[in-house]
């Protein structure tokens, strides 16, 4: 089911959470809303779900105006950062909630719950209460609960934000796989650019209540629309009047008209990569990322003078 956001603005008191945002999400896609905190990404997601109402603008779901439709009638599944588990219900009852509300026959509910518990690898945990689960298990339960009524759109608000790094990495892969199997239109909010790039087909970068750029992960990294996106998606350094990535710079031992002089401060070996910390002729420090082989050829040592050239520039600084 496609999602259309048309000129939506939302204000909380004096804070402009969303400022004339328009966005198209294709049916069946997996989209990330990426931005720093306060950028309006969660508010946008909650407006799509119907949990908040826009001050102006419209939401269309599958081409139908849904701006004033109550959340329970939108056919969306929502996953909260802090799980929002029904604490007084077992895992089984949590997952079955949406089906019981829809008054489905008992054996159909049981079969569907069993199937979902299997999908989220919680078979055998059905009789437990949320308090007896780990964070990752709780979030998987919340996912199963959201998926149970077969929503046409799955919305996830920083779904892995409260989990530790290892569990987060697991669930990312799992979410990607789930989407590839079900093809449910999925939108998730994250402030982690790596997470957005790894999981999503399409990334919506937000800042200050506005959409800065909508693009695939690769395009976003290679051709950022502006300085904000450039700096937010990956590392950016300012070199000779333009913004470049640390691996866009090339070092050599000979000067020509396209190079600038710099002194090596420190060389850090990161396995495959080498990071050279330099100080430019203008006294500003910056970082260059090069391969191990290149670093060995140059025999970089602290104190050495090198010449730096930009292989490509991505943004005027």
């Amino acid at each position: 089911m496609s999602i259309e956001v048309r000129n939506v603005s939302k204000r909380f008191g004096s804070f402009q959470a969303l400022d004339d945002v328009s966005l198209d999400v294709d049916g069946g896609s997996l989209t990330a809303l990426l931005g720093p905190s306060g950028s309006g990404k969660s508010t946008l997601l909650r407006i799509i779900a119907g949990l908040e109402h826009p001050d102006v603008g419209a939401i269309r779901l599958a081409g139908e105006d849904a701006t004033v439709v109550a959340p329970q009638k939108r056919g969306v599944g929502f996953v909260f950062q802090h799980y929002a588990a029904f604490k007084h219900m077992t895992v089984r009852d949590n997952v079955a909630f949406g089906l019981k509300i829809r008054k489905q026959p008992k054996d159909a509910i049981e079969a569907r719950v069993e199937e979902l518990l299997q999908l989220v690898q919680l078979q055998g945990f059905g009789h437990r209460y949320p308090a007896q689960l780990s964070g990752g298990q709780r979030q998987r339960m919340a996912l199963a609960r959201a998926l149970a009524p077969e929503p046409k759109v799955l919305l996830l608000d920083e779904p892995f934000g409260a989990l530790d790094a290892r569990v987060r990495a697991e669930l990312r892969v799992w979410l990607r796989r789930l989407h590839d199997e079900t093809h449910t239109t999925t939108v998730f909010v994250t402030h982690d650019q790596e997470e957005a790039m790894e999981v999503a087909d399409s990334v919506v970068v937000m800042n200050d209540g506005r959409v800065e750029q909508v693009a695939g992960p690769r395009e976003l990294y290679d051709a950022p629309a502006n300085e904000f996106v450039m700096r937010f998606v990956g590392e950016a350094i300012s070199f000779d009047g333009s913004l470049v990535r640390p691996h866009d710079l090339e070092l050599s031992l000979e000067a020509d008209e396209s190079t600038r002089e710099a002194q090596v401060e420190r060389v850090v070996h990161l396995g495959f990569d080498v990071r050279a910390e330099l100080v430019g002729d203008d006294g500003r420090p910056f970082v260059v990322q090069l391969t191990r082989d290149d670093a060995e050829t140059l025999e970089l040592e602290p104190g050495e003078i090198v010449f730096v050239r930009a292989k490509r520039s991505r943004q005027p600084a």
């Binding site: 219900m89 509300i101 959201a146």
Partner: protein, 262 residues
């Protein structure tokens, strides 16, 4: 060392202020044997007084339970202008002397009161009858359920309710399936406190009841009645029954409390 002396002071204080008098009540009640006690307790007017107390509580407690939950939901979940004032007004009966409450009802429902003539014209007796006693009891026992539920609702947050909405539950379904089960122990605790307050109410009821033996006399009023008529074992006997109910209520409360945490 200071810990022991602190504990000692606390225990002594409880003995002197609470348990001592309670023990005296028991002692006095049985001072002249069980026979006069039994006679006073089985007196038709005494039985009527207990019945009336239970009747009034049976009306006041459910009303205040529903009102308390609605009120707490309004205070915590609805952002409306004046929510703070509502929150403060709920506490008013705690701050106000019950005698003043009785007096207010007198001024409202008395012959010259605002509503007095209306009910009189329609032949409905409010003052010196059960309705005024029920109203007075409702008034004084109003805050307890709301006071218990408000902090629990705040702590609960509204994410679970939002989750229920996105799963297709209507407001009403969300309340019955998610909100109420989550606050149930707070409600139970509030009901226990409300019941205790209703059973023990004296001041406000004394003002509006008219004290008619066998008609508008509640258990607490009966205690005073017996006492003033030099029937000591009678008054202490009723006091014991009331105290026993309170002890049971307290026990129920302590038994319920730990469950809330788990």
């Amino acid at each position: 060392m200071p810990r022991f002396s602190l504990r000692g002071i606390a225990v002594l204080y409880l003995l002197a202020v609470l348990l001592g008098p309670l023990a005296m009540v028991f002692y006095r009640a049985f001072e002249r044997g069980a026979q006069p006690l039994w006679t006073s307790l089985t007196d038709p007017n005494t039985i009527h007084a207990f019945k009336l107390t239970l009747e009034i509580s049976a009306i006041a407690v459910p009303i205040n339970t529903v009102f308390g939950i609605v009120c707490a939901l309004a205070i915590v979940r609805r952002r409306f202008p004046g929510a703070g004032i509502v929150n403060a007004i709920v506490d008013l009966p705690l701050a106000l002397s019950p005698v003043v409450v009785g007096l207010m009802l007198f001024l409202l429902y008395g012959r010259t009161g605002w509503f007095g003539s209306f009910f009189q014209d329609h032949g409905i007796q409010i003052l010196f009858a059960t309705p005024a006693m029920v109203i007075a009891t409702i008034f004084v026992s109003l805050p307890f359920v709301a006071r218990e539920v408000v902090p629990t609702l705040r702590e609960l947050g509204d994410e679970q309710e939002q989750a229920a909405h996105t799963l297709g539950a209507s407001g009403w379904q969300t309340f019955w399936r998610v909100t109420l089960p989550s606050i149930r122990w707070a409600v139970v605790y509030g009901v226990v406190l409300t019941t205790a307050r209703c059973l023990g109410e004296y001041g406000a009821v004394a003002v509006v009841s008219g004290h008619i033996e066998g008609k508008t006399e509640t258990a607490t009023l009966r205690v005073q009645d017996y006492y003033e008529n030099f029937n000591q074992s009678g008054s202490y006997g009723i006091a014991i029954v009331l105290a026993a109910i309170s002890v049971i209520v307290l026990l129920a409360m302590t038994l319920l409390r730990p469950k809330e945490g788990s």
